[in-house]
């Protein structure tokens, strides 16, 4: 009996590593996933190397610097801007700060915001969905009806409402509007993950391999975390990646409306919102943060679509 076991173990180990390799391989075969990863790579390196790429700080006002004027248009020496002027690839903003520096620092903030918000929403949503699906009955009913109510609002409208309410409540811990905005966006995103998780729990709960592990005496928590969760990972990862795009968009929209990040924070939405009346005289203050914002959202959208196409065989045409 020894030999077959070894062979089986061997095959199992090989299958495990090649499964991962297969998965990554099939994701990398998706054009959109690769495009998303490349874009994301550029954005992440820009965010990480912000301090190396520019000599200025995100809130540093260059009022005393020679040749730096308020609302100054981009000046790139390679593109014919005279060499005796200081170089500002994306120009200067309404407080004579370097836009390029602020864009790079904005990338840090947006990436952190996107990951943190979706992270919170996934953890809470997954737990809610798992318990609703596992317990069933009236708990399931009540919890999922609450999720229905949250889904019945247009997302941004509910986010605005929650953010203004949380702001007005004056909760001691929640004084930073950006944190409030993230919390509101996270709460609004919870139902999506709760639904995904609950659906997985319901479809997997009665499968033979789960019954088998139950018969072997595995605990409920063990079944949940070792049997059900791994099987729910694919839709959670897809939803989560697309969710980061939504979260970045919504934080930017809230900041644009004055409900999220406050000046002088280098946040793309707030950068655009502060100067929206200057669009006709200093368009570079809108266009560069706008492009950065759109490309980040695009990167996560492409990546999410690519992962879905790679991992969901029903879509492979």
């Amino acid at each position: 009996m020894t030999a077959p076991t070894t062979t089986a173990d061997h095959i199992g180990a090989q299958a495990g590593s090649s499964l991962l390799r297969d998965t990554i391989g099939s994701i990398l075969r998706q054009r959109s996933a690769v495009a998303g990863l490349v874009l994301l790579g550029i954005i992440v390196s820009g965010a990480l190397l912000a301090d190396v790429l520019t000599p200025y700080g995100p809130a540093q006002q260059l009022t005393t610097m020679e040749g730096a004027e308020r609302l100054g248009a981009p000046c790139v020496h390679l593109l014919g801007c005279s060499a005796d002027r200081p170089q500002f690839v994306m120009g200067l903003d309404e407080n004579t700060r370097d836009v390029f520096t602020r864009i790079l620092h904005g990338a840090r903030l947006s990436l952190v915001i996107g990951l943190a918000t979706v992270g919170i929403a996934i953890v809470v949503g997954t737990l809610i969905g798992a318990f609703a699906g596992f317990l069933g009955g009236w708990v399931d009913n009540i919890v999922m009806r609450i999720m229905d109510v949250l889904l019945a609002f247009p997302a941004l409208v509910l986010v605005i409402f929650l953010a203004t309410s949380l702001d007005a409540l004056d909760i001691p811990v929640l004084t930073d509007r950006l944190i409030i905005a993230m919390l509101a966006i996270g709460i609004v995103a919870i139902p999506v993950y709760a639904r995904v998780m609950r659906a997985s729990v319901l479809s997997i709960r009665e499968r033979e391999f789960v019954l088998a592990s139950r018969a072997l005496g595995e605990s409920q928590a063990g079944i949940l975390f070792r049997r059900v969760l791994p099987n729910a990972l694919t839709p959670l990862i897809v939803q989560g990646t697309l969710g980061i795009a939504t979260a970045i968009l919504e934080v930017a929209a809230l900041s644009f409306l004055g409900l999220g990040a406050q000046p002088p924070t280098a946040e793309w939405g707030s950068m655009i919102g502060n100067v929206r009346n200057l669009v006709f005289s200093a368009p570079h203050l809108i266009i560069f943060p706008g492009v950065a914002l759109s490309l980040s959202v695009l990167a996560f959208n492409l990546l999410g679509d690519g992962i879905r196409d790679a991992l969901d065989p029903r879509l492979n045409r």
Partner: protein, 358 residues
């Protein structure tokens, strides 16, 4: 069908109840004494006591909730702290602008999205398909406020003086005359509900200009709505294009399409008559869902293009921390959204009998 409508209505009731309960709860949690908000410097303790009794604020919370439901049923949404006017009055004044904008954006999104999606599916993997899908990916990724500002800059500044330039703000050019319907139709004497309806429609500039034959105002209004319409409609357009494409591809792979081709039907007939109609079904759902994006996006679009709709009223209310207005608008928007989705669901069931028989 009737049974289906009944079932669907019953499912909506708890959701609507939940929406109202959520808004009510958060409203009551908020600090700020409504008495002081309403009476301001005249608020003495004795007056406030009388005020609370009069408005039932000393009643237990469940009683308050019931009277809140009663208020809603009679259209009483509270009073704006900032403007000192009834919120329902503000909504009636401003809703027409938002409705008109949403209608135009939805039409733009649906027509363009369906045409692009159909084109992409018919020429699958052709350059046209790739270009359309790249456009759609970009379209869902550009925030409404960025697209709006860039469009405003491009059409108002870059193209200034050319015949393609478009106005970046407002409903009509300054000085452009636009008569109310009651005046245009010589019905100033009409009062009551018919007059209210006329005044409501009058605030939809383009539609009222069209039905009362004010051609100059109509043209001017159309020129003003193009940019906000495109800014607001692009995200739903992209979603609809993607949905139409994948739905068309699904249908084109079915047996009856092969049968139609086998019996010698022309490609035009196969696509236009057989495939397209059935492919539209999932698109209907997406159109309903994209209304959420439209209602959300209206806040940003109206702010950028200075349109006096409920969205810009919400923006002003956020700025002045006028919570009553924010809550009322949230409630009204959510109820509009739920109603529209109900209608979409019902029309879906009407279009596809399999749904209601399930």
């Amino acid at each position: 069908m009737l049974a289906f409508i009944g079932r669907r209505l019953l499912l909506t009731i708890p959701v609507v109840f939940g929406i109202i309960l959520l808004v009510f709860t958060l409203t009551r949690l908020l600090p700020g004494d409504p008495c002081i908000a309403a009476l301001q410097e005249r608020a003495t303790p004795a007056l406030c006591e009388a005020f609370r009794q009069r408005f039932g604020l000393d009643e237990p919370i469940p009683v308050q909730f019931v009277s809140y439901l009663g208020d809603l049923a009679t259209g009483n949404l509270g009073r704006s702290i900032q403007q000192g006017r009834d919120v329902s009055q503000i909504i009636v004044e401003r809703l027409p602008v938002t409705l008109e904008l949403t209608l135009f954006a939805l039409t733009f999104a649906t027509v363009t999205g369906v045409l692009l999606g159909r084109l992409a599916a018919r020429r699958r993997n052709s350059p046209a398909d790739v270009a359309t899908m790249m456009l759609a990916n970009l379209g869902v990724s550009i925030p409404v406020f960025v697209l709006g500002l860039v469009l405003a800059y491009f059409f108002a500044v870059v193209l200034r003086g050319s015949p393609l330039s478009l106005p970046p703000s407002g409903l009509l050019s300054p000085g452009m005359r636009h008569e109310d319907l009651a005046i245009a139709w010589g019905m100033q004497g009409v009062v009551g509900f018919p007059r209210a309806v006329m005044d409501f429609v009058s605030n939809m500039t383009i539609i009222s200009a069209l039905i009362s034959g004010q051609w100059e105002a109509l043209l001017d209004g159309l020129r003003h709505i193009i940019l906000p319409m495109v800014a607001l409609g692009t995200i739903p357009m992209a979603i609809i294009a993607r949905m139409t494409r994948s739905s068309m591809l699904d249908v084109l792979g079915l047996d009856y399409i092969r049968t139609a081709r086998a019996k010698g039907a022309s490609e035009r007939l196969v696509i236009g008559r057989h495939a397209f109609r059935n492919a539209l079904l999932p698109v209907v759902t997406v159109i309903g869902l994209s209304l959420g994006a439209l209602l959300s996006g209206a806040v940003l679009t109206e702010t950028i293009f200075r349109l006096p709709g409920v969205g810009s009223a919400l923006f002003e209310a956020i700025g002045s921390r006028d919570y009553i207005v924010v809550q009322a608008f949230t409630l009204v928007t959510a109820l509009v959204y739920v109603t529209i989705n109900l209608i979409v669901d019902l029309s879906y069931a009407y279009l596809d009998p399999r749904i209601r028989l399930r």
